[in-house]
């Protein structure tokens, strides 16, 4: 009897294992090929040189040496680094924090909150290219006329070199609200109603409620966003490709745009080894910052209780 039960249990275990294996086989295979394989290949590429179609030769560390020569001789890298950092600072300061306040407003069902919800979320569902075209028409078409009527003469928010990058940052902050609001509002919904009721009985204002209750309780979501932002400093292309295609002026370059632009160029295979080397260097720069920010956020964040 016991043997029978053991056999049945073993059979069930094998069946379950088989089921799990079948279910997991495809995603694991996909992960191996499209993540491990691709990234491993990319690592190898950093140590190769392009010869001709489908033909690469080993080149040791020459791509890295070359990269440092280019850092010194081209202004592009310094400009792109600066712009990437600027976009991170503004994106975090405005996008992340304002997104938090907007989410709280919507969560608290403030005046016309549904209207604001749609307005802020709309950019996330409209195709980027359509949105950029609209923004261009607004920035360089409508704005010069509007500002002209009140005595400010500008060629356009994008056409005026001093305003170009600022306008691009504004655009990116604006379109970033959608996802943030969705995530923050979702996290706020999970806070037990009883906590708000208790706070209300204690006479807590909205400010106190936000800073003492809501923000600490959605700290996990906030810190996730922050860490993701730190991790993507050098891959954030700021939608510049949607604005300018491959032809942005160097003054608006970010590292993310540079990497994307170089890799999508027609017949750009000869550039890939250099880009792979740059990718490794960027990962080495970013990685400590990601872990450092994670450590700091954990340290300064509120305790779970």
């Amino acid at each position: 009897m016991i043997k029978k039960i053991c056999d049945r249990a073993n059979g069930k275990k094998i069946e379950d294992l088989f089921f799990y294996a079948v279910i997991l086989a495809f995603p694991v295979l996909q992960f191996c090929v499209f993540y491990i394989g691709v990234n491993f290949n990319s690592l190898l590429l950093a140590f190769k040189n392009y010869e001709s179609y489908n033909s690469y030769s080993w080149s040791g560390l020459s791509n890295f040496e070359n990269l440092f020569v280019m850092f010194g001789e081209k202004t592009l890298y310094a400009v792109a680094f600066k712009n990437s950092l600027k976009s991170f600072v503004w994106g975090t300061a405005c996008g992340l924090l304002l997104g938090l306040f907007f989410s709280y407003y919507i969560f608290k069902k403030g005046f016309a909150y549904n209207f604001f919800k749609v307005c802020l979320f709309l950019p996330s569902i409209i195709p980027a290219i359509a949105l950029v075209v609209m923004f261009k028409q607004f920035a360089d078409g409508a704005m010069p006329q509007i500002l002209g009527k009140i005595g400010f003469h500008v060629k356009g928010l994008l056409a005026e070199p001093k305003l170009t990058f600022g306008s691009i940052i504004f655009y990116n902050v604006w379109i970033s609200f959608g996802t943030g609001i969705l995530m923050y509002a979702g996290a706020m919904e999970n806070i037990p109603e009883s906590i708000f009721e208790a706070a209300k009985l204690d006479g807590a204002s909205y400010g106190i409620e936000f800073f003492k209750i809501v923000f600490p309780l959605i700290w996990g979501t906030f810190s996730t966003f922050f860490i993701v932002n730190v991790g993507s400093i050098f891959i954030n292309s700021m939608n510049i490709y949607a604005f300018y295609g491959p032809n942005a002026e160097e003054s608006v370059y970010t590292i993310g745009y540079f990497l994307y632009n170089e890799s999508v160029k027609t017949n750009a295979y000869a550039n890939y080894p250099q880009l792979a080397a740059f990718g490794i260097v960027l990962s080495l720069i970013t990685l400590p910052f990601v872990y450092l920010s994670k450590f700091i956020l954990k340290k300064i964040g509120p305790a779970a209780d």
């Binding site: 070359n66 202004t75 002026e249 160097e250 027609t266 000869a270």
Partner: protein, 565 residues
Amino acid sequence: MKRKTEKKLISAACAVFIAFSASSCAGRNPGGETLNKDMTQLNIGVFEGGLGSDWVYALKKSFEEKYADVSFEPNKKGVQLQVSESKSFSGTFGTEGTVNMSQDVIFAEGAAMLYCAERGDFLDISDIVKAPLDYDFVRKNTADGGESATIESKLSDNQKAYYSALDNKYYALPTAETYMGIAYDIELFEENNLFFAPDGTFVKSAADQRSSGPDGDPDTEWDNGLPATYAQFYTLCAKIKQLGMIPVMWGGALQEMVSFLLLSLEADYAGSEQMYLNYDYNGVLKNQILSFGKDCLPVTGGSVNISAANGYELYKQDAKYYALKFLEGIIKNGYYNVKNGTSSSFTHQDAEDVFVSAKYNTKLQRAAMLVDGNWWQSEAKGVFNEWEAEKGECASLQNRKFGMMALPKADESKTGNMTLLTYQGHIGVINSHIEDYKINLAKSFLQYCYTEKALRTYTLMTNICRPVTYSMGDDYNKLSSHGKICCDLHVGANKVSMESSSKINRNYNTEIWYAPNLWTSTVGGTTYKFPSTAMINSGISAEDYFLGLSGYWTKGVWNGTFRNV
């Protein structure tokens, strides 16, 4: 409960709507024409761009008739050309190439021909290039009364070398002679007496004798009366501006057009041999600018052997400076569309629209010249059609008088025949993944496109030429003014192409031919990509911009960018 029923009804209605939309999509073919299941379909892919596919439709009937009685598949007779347009017929045709493309014959633009051919995307078409045009690849015989010339005989030596660079086999053929230049409104020039007389003043009436133009030859009528030098060009611009019009206009959102115009000016100044160094990197560079004298005039001299290893030396080529100088004169004097010349909301198509429409729409400021490619009329076909519908035939594309301007020379000493810099990558190919039974049919169609009759039809439909030798014959008179000038330039101008099979051009194709990558300049620690915006926004002079080219393309940057070439 009622709400639930409402929701269900709305969902059902949506589902029906989606299902109907989907079914209507499934029933259509890419060309919009009904599929004839009794015939064999030959799928023709055309790049979705300014030139369009009207020319294929113009050839369709005669080609289909040619094989109406031939069976290519069991239970089917005749051929039906199915035309589709797509942006994907460009560059490297995506990462997968032509493998998943259903098109049998493809007419691409901006294609990386050698790379794709090496990857195996294209069928070897050497036989159709070398066979007489009257040889029928389907029937395997020679037709009576056909053309005995070969396609190869219509190609230039440079084209032969480039298109057969892989194992001496042809995988593609050139399809369109396109170049960037300045289009001008001939009617406006005539109405306002903007042509030059032989004495250098403006003509008093349209019938007055005109100057010999930039080529200095009075017999070539198409450039007579046009400004011969930069100085004359600025005199013309000043007069146009005085008349309250825009002398030169371009789309602010697409500064690359101005950069390409600079390449055209550079080519016209340098001549075909010296210009080709920028694509082939093999030869001797003459006339480098060594310095600028106290009078700001360039001091030229010396000669340098150019190879891919020292290509940065080409950024001292005097022709580049003179091209920049031309632009500087336009910008400094405000001879361009100042209001929207850098506006990202004013595209080149908007500029084309204004250029065509301002004659009738008085709210728009009229422009005398437009920086654009010679294909611009095909791109603006819709605008012409709208005006034709409103104003009648006189407003049609055929009857409006526009033309591509022969570019003015830097000074009188350079007067002579024009050198045209033609684009690369406009190619006709056969997809190597074509089904076997269609191969000869596809070859026959591609071959048919190069018969004299088809070449003329192409020019009549697009108003531009194929970059091969042919004559328009009597059909010349059927062309619009723009088309006639394109044909005149096709026959009369020296040509230099961006096509080269050099290793540097193969491996770094886009870096070598695409204008925005060729005018990068570092001035005072800032790097600019577009001379036009640098001059407009930052007041950079032609001299500084030119010196900045070498400032950017140092030996280290050059060798770091173009590696292993």
